[in-house]
C-alpha cells in the first residue's frame, strides 16, 4: 500500500506505515493460509521476472549471431512480438490454455479480468500471478520460432504469425501439457515439468516450418551446394544472451513448482544448473572432436541445449542424472548443428538446441524419473533405470510426436498463407543492404555504415562552425611537430 495519506511524527510514522500490512492482518486474524499463498505468489512472480528477462537473452543470442547490418532489427522484433503476444495472450491465449475443461482446449477466460471468472477474492492475486507467469512461457516459445528466420524475413510477416502462435498454437500445446488437456490422457500423464516439449519443441517446430518456407540466406550455400560460414558479428553479445538465458532458466524451471511447497524449487534449481553445466561440457568435447577447435558459439549452444534438455526432467530427476542429461544434450547439439547445417540455414542452431534437445529432455524423463519425485509431483511413472518399464517412455514419445505434428501443421499452414499474401522474405537487394536500413530505415550501427565524412557534414560546414584552431590538445601532451 502506498502510504500517501498517513502523516506521522518522525520516522516512527514510517514504521507505523510499514507495520500496516501486518497490523491489518492482525486485525483480520492473519491466517497462515494467506501467508502461504503470498509466499507462493512471491516466488512465482520472481520467476516471472526472470523468465521475462529471457527475451533479452534470445534477442542478444540472435543479434550476436547476425551480421552487423541486421543487428538493430533484433531489438524491434523482440519488442514488437513480445508486446503483440502480451495482448493476444490476455485476450485469447490464456483462455485456450488454461480456461479449464476439455481435452483439446479451454473455453473461458477471454480478455482475462481480475475477479471476474473466479470464485473468491483471496485467490485472485494467485490467478493473476499464474496468468503472467504462463504468459512468459508463451513468449519464450514464440521467441524460439524466430531463431531460424534471421537476416531475411520481412518484419511485416512476423506480426500475423505472432498473433496466431500466441492465440492458438502455443496455447493448445500448453493446454495439453500444462493445463490438464490431452497429454494427461497418455498413460499416467506426460512428464514435462517446465516444458521441454510444450515450450521448446513447440518453438523449434515453428522454426522448422519457417526455415522450410523461407529458404537459406543468400550465399549460405556455395555453387557446389556446400554450406559457407556467415559469421555472426558479435560473440560477446551472443554470450550475453546465453548468460541471460541461463539466469532466466532458474525462474523458468524453478518457478514451474508454482510455489515454495516443500522447498522443492531448491532442488529444481540445483538440478537445472547441473544440466546446463553438462551441456557446456558435452558441446566442448564434441566440438573439439568434430571441429578441432573450441567454437565459442557451440559452447553457448551447449549451454542452451543442456538447459532445454533438463527442463522436462527438472522436477523429476535426482542430482546425479542432471549432468548426464545435460552432457548428452551437449554432445547431440554439436552433431545436429553440423548435420542440419548441410541443408538448412538455421543461424542460431534453434532446431538443434531447442528441438533435438527438447525431444531428448522429454524422453529422458522416461529413463531417469525418480520414484520419490514422481510420487511428489504426482504425474507418470518412474523411469527405466528405476525399473519403471517402457510405458512412461512411450507416453513421453507420444507427446513429442503429437506436439510436433500439430505444431508443424499449424505453423506451416499459417506461414504458407502469410507467404502467399504479404510474403515472407525481403527482396535480394534488401537482404544485401541489410534489414536495418531496408526494413527500419536506419542502421543498427550507423557509424559503421555511414562514412564519417557524411556524418560530420551534418555537424555543419567548416567555415561556419569551426574555430580558428579547431583541434587542440585535450591535456598536456607533446607536439608531433
Amino acid at each position: 500500500m502506498r502510504p500517501t495519506t498517513v502523516v506521522g511524527g518522525a520516522l516512527t510514522a514510517i514504521l507505523a506505515l510499514l507495520a500496516l500490512p501486518a497490523a491489518a492482518l492482525a486485525q483480520d486474524a492473519p491466517m497462515l493460509e494467506s501467508v502461504v499463498s503470498e509466499l507462493n505468489v512471491t516466488w512465482v512472480l520472481v520467476a516471472t521476472v526472470l523468465v521475462f528477462f529471457m527475451q533479452a537473452g534470445f534477442a542478444f543470442l540472435e543479434i550476436g549471431f547476425s551480421r552487423g547490418k541486421n543487428a538493430g532489427m533484433g531489438i524491434a522484433k523482440i519488442l514488437v512480438n513480445f508486446s503483440i503476444a502480451s495482448i493476444v495472450w490476455w485476450a485469447v491465449g490464456f483462455g485456450i490454455a488454461f480456461g479449464g475443461d476439455g481435452v483439446i482446449a479451454g473455453s473461458s477466460g477471454w480478455l482475462f479480468q481480475f475477479g471476474r471468472d473466479v470464485a473468491g477474492e483471496g485467490a485472485s492475486g494467485e490467478t493473476a500471478s499464474f496468468f503472467i507467469f504462463q504468459f512468459m512461457f508463451a513468449a519464450v516459445s514464440l521467441a524460439i520460432v524466430w531463431g531460424t528466420t534471421l537476416e531475411r524475413m520481412k518484419f511485416a510477416a512476423y506480426i500475423p504469425f505472432a498473433i496466431v502462435f500466441s492465440a492458438v498454437i502455443y496455447p493448445l500445446i500448453a493446454h495439453w501439457g500444462f493445463g490438464g488437456g490431452l497429454f494427461a490422457e497418455f498413460g499416467d500423464g506426460v512428464q514435462d515439468f517446465a516444458g521441454s516439449t510444450v515450450v521448446h519443441l513447440t518453438g523449434a517446430t515453428g522454426a522448422l516450418a519457417a526455415v522450410l518456407l523461407l529458404g537459406p540466406r543468400k550465399g549460405k550455400f556455395g555453387s557446389d551446394g556446400k554450406p559457407r560460414a556467415i559469421p555472426g558479428h558479435n560473440m560477446p553479445l551472443f554470450g550475453l544472451g546465453v548468460l541471460i538465458l541461463w539466469l532466466g532458466w532458474f525462474g523458468f524451471n524453478g518457478g514451474s513448482t508454482l510455489g515454495t511447497a516443500g522447498n522443492s524449487f531448491a532442488e529444481v534449481i540445483a538440478v537445472t544448473n547441473l544440466g546446463a553445466a553438462g551441456g557446456v561440457i558435452g558441446a566442448m568435447i564434441m566440438g573439439a572432436m568434430k571441429q578441432k577447435t573450441l567454437d565459442i558459439g557451440m559452447v553457448g549452444n551447449g549451454a542452451i541445449a543442456g538447459l532445454v534438455a533438463i527442463t522436462a526432467p527438472s522436477g523429476y530427476v535426482e542430482f546425479w542424472a542432471a549432468p548426464i542429461i545435460g552432457l548428452v544434450a551437449g554432445l547431440l547439439v554439436v552433431v545436429c548443428v553440423l548435420a542440419f547445417e548441410k541443408k538448412l540455414d538455421d543461424p542460431v542452431g534453434a532446431l538443434s538446441a531447442h528441438g533435438v534437445a527438447g525431444i531428448w529432455g522429454t524422453l529422458s524423463c522416461g529413463l531417469f524419473a525418480s520414484p520419490r519425485l514422481v510420487e511428489s509431483v504426482g504425474v507418470g511413472k518412474a523411469g527405466l533405470v528405476y525399473g519403471g518399464g517402457l510405458g512412461q517412455l512411450a507416453a513421453q514419445a507420444a507427446a513429442v510426436v503429437v506436439a510436433f505434428t500439430v505444431v508443424f501443421t499449424l505453423s506451416y499452414t499459417t506461414l504458407w498463407i502469410i507467404k502467399a499474401t504479404i510474403g515472407l522474405r525481403v527482396s535480394d537487394e534488401e537482404e544485401d543492404a541489410g534489414l536495418d536500413i531496408s526494413e527500419h530505415g536506419m542502421y543498427g550501427y550507423p557509424e559503421q555504415f555511414i562514412p564519417s565524412a557524411e556524418l560530420v557534414g551534418y555537424g555543419g560546414g567548416p567555415t561556419a562552425t569551426i574555430p580558428p584552431a579547431p583541434v587542440t590538445a585535450m591535456s598536456s601532451q607533446e607536439m608531433s611537430v
Binding site: 565524412a453 557534414g457 560546414g461 567548416p462 574555430p467 580558428p468 590538445a473 591535456s475
Partner: protein, 124 residues
C-alpha cells in the same frame, strides 16, 4: 588525365562534394586516413599509463578528371578546405595514363565523370 589526391578535414568534405556535384563532377572516392603533419596529437591516459596519438583523422579524396578540368577541382577543394588553422591538409596532383569504365569497358576521358547533364539531374 590527372588524379587529384587531397587530405582534408572531415568537415570540409560535404561542401566540397556538393559544389563539385553542382559543377558537374559527381565522381570521386574517399577513404579514412590518419595523418601526421604540423598538427598536435592527443594523449590518452589509461590506468596510469599514457598513449599518445600523433596521427589525426583526415578524409582522403581521390578524384580523376580530364587535365583541362584539373584546376576546377583543385580550387574547389582549396576553397572549402581552408580554415586557416594547422591541419587543413594538402592537395596533390598525379598523372593518370588511362581510365576504364567497368560497366561498359569504354576507356578515355569521357569515362571520368558522369554525363554532362549530371549537375542539373542532381539538382532536380
Amino acid at each position: 588525365m590527372k588524379m587529384v589526391i587531397a587530405y582534408v578535414r572531415h568537415e570540409a568534405f560535404e561542401p566540397i562534394r556538393t559544389e563539385l556535384l553542382t559543377l558537374g563532377f559527381p565522381s570521386l572516392s574517399i577513404s579514412e586516413v590518419k595523418g601526421s603533419g604540423r598538427q598536435k596529437g592527443i594523449t590518452e591516459r589509461y590506468r596510469g599509463a599514457e598513449l599518445t596519438n600523433y596521427l589525426r583523422p583526415k578524409v582522403k579524396i581521390e578524384c580523376v578528371v580530364a587535365s583541362k578540368d584539373l584546376m576546377t577541382i583543385v580550387d574547389t577543394i582549396l576553397k572549402h578546405g581552408r580554415t586557416g588553422a594547422v591541419g587543413d591538409g594538402k592537395v596533390f596532383v598525379m598523372p593518370v595514363e588511362e581510365a576504364y569504365r567497368i560497366r561498359t569497358g569504354e576507356s578515355g576521358e569521357e569515362t571520368l565523370q558522369a554525363h554532362p547533364d549530371a549537375a542539373s539531374a542532381a539538382a532536380g
